[in-house]
């Protein structure tokens, strides 16, 4: 697509310039739902800026063709969901569980799962208070997770179509999500509630439960597996009732598809984090990780994009090329930032993200294929970030610190977010062997010089500690 492109991060104008070299034929090659009229998504970032994504003017992006595909596809999601309905597909909102229910939904032909709460990035990409202000008018308090934007989006019906079904998780998921979903129900929607049990870790004095371990070594009471399976059965039955289709073989296939993507993403992370030079920017890597949730509403096309990203990264690693300075300091990022600019900023100030805990572990782990599908789903979900203890959540980061792979930890918090309020100090304590910076993500367009100075000081502290 481009010749002799040296990997680097470029801005929107540079991307527009580069985009001119792409032929019409290539542009037409990539499309979603196979549609040639409106399914084209290979647009430069400027397109989305014209349609209101104002932050794109300030962000920097990877300059690879794969990144162009990735961003075009991600920013096209809203239209894609509307188009899905227009061509007779069913759009199913799957809120709160972050990773498992979509695998079930995708077992039903022409059913497209999506996560309304992923709209939390929109106020930041748009540098806009429209959704947040509307959420406040509808009852969401201001100190709460930015995913409250989903409430406004449901009200406005302009960011995604009215879902045909809504599965909403509650229990040991984030309270803010659950409260937002409850308000959404108050708008006249009718979610099917799914209960997520708290994953109680084993203790020496417990005698009553049999415990199992997940693939990632997290212990859980065995009976919670059965409990989750019954909840997934409920999802399945609702889908059967809705679609009049009942074929469990499709579920096995759906799990295979999910695993294909999960393996790719795991390999991408491994390659990126272990390479001598960072082959891909942290912002794109975050978007890739979140793609595991539901493939941005076209799972097959997204997987194809991720394959291309994997090839790009592999090639760069082979050639020893990177997008960041060779002396960038390896850090872990805990809790995803709703403000994409922060990821740019942290890299610009000298860090390199080599480990993440974006509260979606359950969407990263492979699902077992040699056991009963619902059991496999339950066992994969039991790796979830937010349903257990803080120690379990950051265990992998702690290991990275112990092994010297991680020299600093950045935690992003949302004021009023229940798990941030409770976990951050504890995480700071658990990771105190390295510098830890905890920052509150400000409202859109709110990153100040003061915050930049704090991050710069954090970087300097890591540098000093390394010396």
């Amino acid at each position: 697509m481009f010749e002799d492109l040296k990997p680097k991060k470029i801005n929107l104008t540079e991307w527009s310039h580069q985009f001119r070299k792409i032929s019409d034929q290539i542009i037409k090659k990539y499309k979603y739902y196979g549609n040639q009229d409106w399914g084209i998504y290979l647009s430069p970032l400027a397109t989305f800026m014209v349609y209101g994504a104002r932050q794109l003017k300030r962000l920097k992006f990877d300059n690879s063709f794969a990144a162009l595909r990735l961003w075009g596809f991600v920013f096209n999601e809203s239209e894609r969901l509307f188009r899905a309905k227009q061509v007779g597909k069913k759009v199913i909102a799957t809120m709160g569980d972050l990773g498992t229910i979509p695998v079930i939904v995708m077992s039903f032909p022409d059913c497209i799962p999506f996560y309304p709460e992923c709209i939390w990035w929109t106020p930041f990409f748009n540098e806009s208070f429209i959704l947040l202000d509307m959420a406040t008018k509808l009852g969401a308090p201001e100190p709460a997770c930015f995913s409250r934007a989903a409430l406004a989006a449901f009200y406005k019906k302009a960011y995604f179509p009215k879902p045909d079904l809504i599965f909403a998780s509650t229990g040991a998921s984030c309270d803010d999500y659950s409260c937002i979903m409850q308000l959404i129900e108050g708008l006249g929607y009718n979610p099917i509630w799914i209960e997520i049990p708290f994953r109680r870790k084993s203790r020496s004095y417990f005698v009553a439960d049999d415990y199992e371990h997940t693939k990632w070594g997290i212990d859980y009471p065995k009976r919670f597996e059965t409990y989750l399976m019954s909840e997934y059965e409920k999802v399945w039955q609702n889908m059967v009732e809705f679609t009049d289709i009942n074929n469990r073989n499709y579920l096995a296939k759906s799990i295979k598809n999910a695993n294909r993507l999960r393996k790719l993403v795991e390999n991408i992370k491994k390659l990126s984090y272990e390479a001598e030079l960072a082959p891909f920017p942290g912002l794109e890597l975050m978007v890739i990780e979140f793609g595991n949730l539901y493939g941005y509403a076209d799972f097959d096309e997204w997987t194809d994009i991720i394959e291309m990203v994997y090839e790009t990264i592999s090639e760069r690693v082979q050639k020893g090329e990177g997008v960041l300075n060779p002396d960038a300091l390896p850090i872990a990022w805990v809790t995803p930032s709703p403000d994409p600019y922060l990821l740019n900023l942290v890299e610009d100030l000298g860090c390199r993200i080599v480990a993440t805990e974006y509260v979606i572990n359950q969407a990263l782990v492979e699902i077992e294929e040699d056991i009963e599908p619902f059991q496999a789903l339950a066992r994969s979900f039991l790796n979830a970030s937010l349903i257990g203890s803080t120690e379990q959540r950051v265990r992998r980061i702690i290991e990275g610190v112990e092994h010297g792979r991680i020299l600093g930890v950045l935690i992003t918090n949302m004021l009023g977010c229940s798990h941030c309020a409770m976990e951050t100090r504890l995480i700071q304590q658990m990771l105190s062997k390295v510098p830890v910076l905890s920052i509150d993500v400000p409202a859109p367009f709110g990153i100040t010089e003061q915050l930049k100075s704090r991050i710069a000081a954090f970087v300097e502290t890591i540098r000093c500690a390394r010396r």
Partner: protein, 343 residues
């Protein structure tokens, strides 16, 4: 009825074939905005920030659904070498077309960030985008190659050459197209959606045949370029376009803004593939009573919202500069009264 959406959201739904809460209402408030901002016209069209401020003042005054960055159609021709006078209280007036001074081969493609008043537009877009870009779409009017071509020449000679020396005209067109593409390129990067305006291609000015041979191919080429960006492109041709309605489908425009056309006929012919914009008579908005405007706009909008692929309530052409604000308000109120899609 309560408005649920911002103009940006409303426009966003329209271009993906979804019905918004109500129809978009975008009367072509261009230089009339200077009047609202109590600004000298010369300041409006020579100072980007002033143009944006005037447009924002108009949005605040009327609450319509888009910002229109525009003064007159000579802007590219001027950057290519045509001379214009800048009267204090009127729009620029062409003094000497470029092709009366030099050959087409000697005319350079302008650099939009540098040449003549093109930077004024870009500055205006940047300012408006920063101020209201999250809520309101910014539309930047780009003269189509045919209109620019005619502004590069003496109009009479130009029209004669369409018959006597079509190759020469095509050279002019090619260059004008390149200039328009470069301008669009920077407009997009500044944050606006280009609208292609081709008033001099109207059937009030040229024959359908001349339109087909010299205007349409370059409109389409420009639209094709913009489609590479996956943008939804508006084509505006004022005056009478009834004789070329069928040809408009060939331009590839996603939205078509019409003036002196029977709206029902336009809907019948175009609305399966295009969204329709229009088409309230601009002399009526300037001179009719609010009561008359109210009634006629309602009738227009009631017909317009039946358009299959969507409809924008608008004026057929620019709102005349001296139009009483009361009339524009009435236009908007009338459209808001009857233009609802949602229950």
């Amino acid at each position: 009825m309560r408005e649920t959406l911002t103009p940006r959201e409303r426009f966003g739904l329209l271009v993906i074939d979804e019905k918004p809460d109500r129809c978009n209402i975008i009367p072509l408030v261009t230089s009339h905005a200077a009047e609202i901002a109590r600004m000298k016209l010369k300041k409006y069209y020579t100072n980007g920030e002033a143009m944006a401020r005037a447009q924002i003042a108009a949005i605040e005054e009327y609450g319509h659904d888009a910002i229109s960055i525009f003064s007159e159609v000579g802007i590219i021709a001027e950057a290519m070498g045509s001379d214009f006078d800048y009267p204090d209280d009127d729009l620029p007036v062409i003094k000497r077309p470029a092709l009366t001074k030099k050959n087409i081969e000697d005319i350079k493609i302008p650099v939009p960030k540098r040449d003549k008043r093109l930077p004024v537009y870009l500055e205006a877009i940047g300012y408006a985008y920063q101020s209201l870009g999250d809520k309101v779409p910014i539309l930047a009017y780009v003269p189509a190659p045919f209109t620019t071509g005619m502004m590069l020449s003496d109009p009479k000679t130009f029209l004669i050459q369409t018959i006597r020396d079509p190759d020469h005209i095509k050279k002019i067109m090619e260059k004008s197209l390149q200039a328009a593409i470069e301008f669009c390129y920077d407009i997009i990067d500044a944050g606006a959606l280009p609208i292609i305006v081709d008033p001099l291609a109207s059937s009030s000015v040229v024959s359908p045949k001349a339109y087909k041979n010299f205007a349409l191919p370059y409109e389409r080429a420009l639209i094709d370029f913009l489609h590479r960006y996956d943008l939804d492109i508006i084509l505006h041709i004022c005056g009478n376009t009834e004789p070329i309605l069928d040809l408009l489908l060939e331009t590839g425009a996603d939205l078509v803004s019409l003036d002196q056309v029977d709206l029902s006929l336009a809907i019948e012919k175009l609305s399966k593939r295009m969204r329709i914009i229009g088409n309230f008579d601009t002399s009526k908005i300037a001179f009719s009573s609010p009561e008359e405007i109210m009634e006629e706009v309602k009738n227009m909008v009631k017909r317009g919202i039946k358009s299959k692929k969507g409809y924008i309530a608008s004026t057929g052409c620019e709102v005349p500069i001296k139009t009483p604000p009361e009339n524009v308000r009435t236009f908007i109120n009338a459209a808001k009264e009857v233009g609802w899609y949602w229950e």
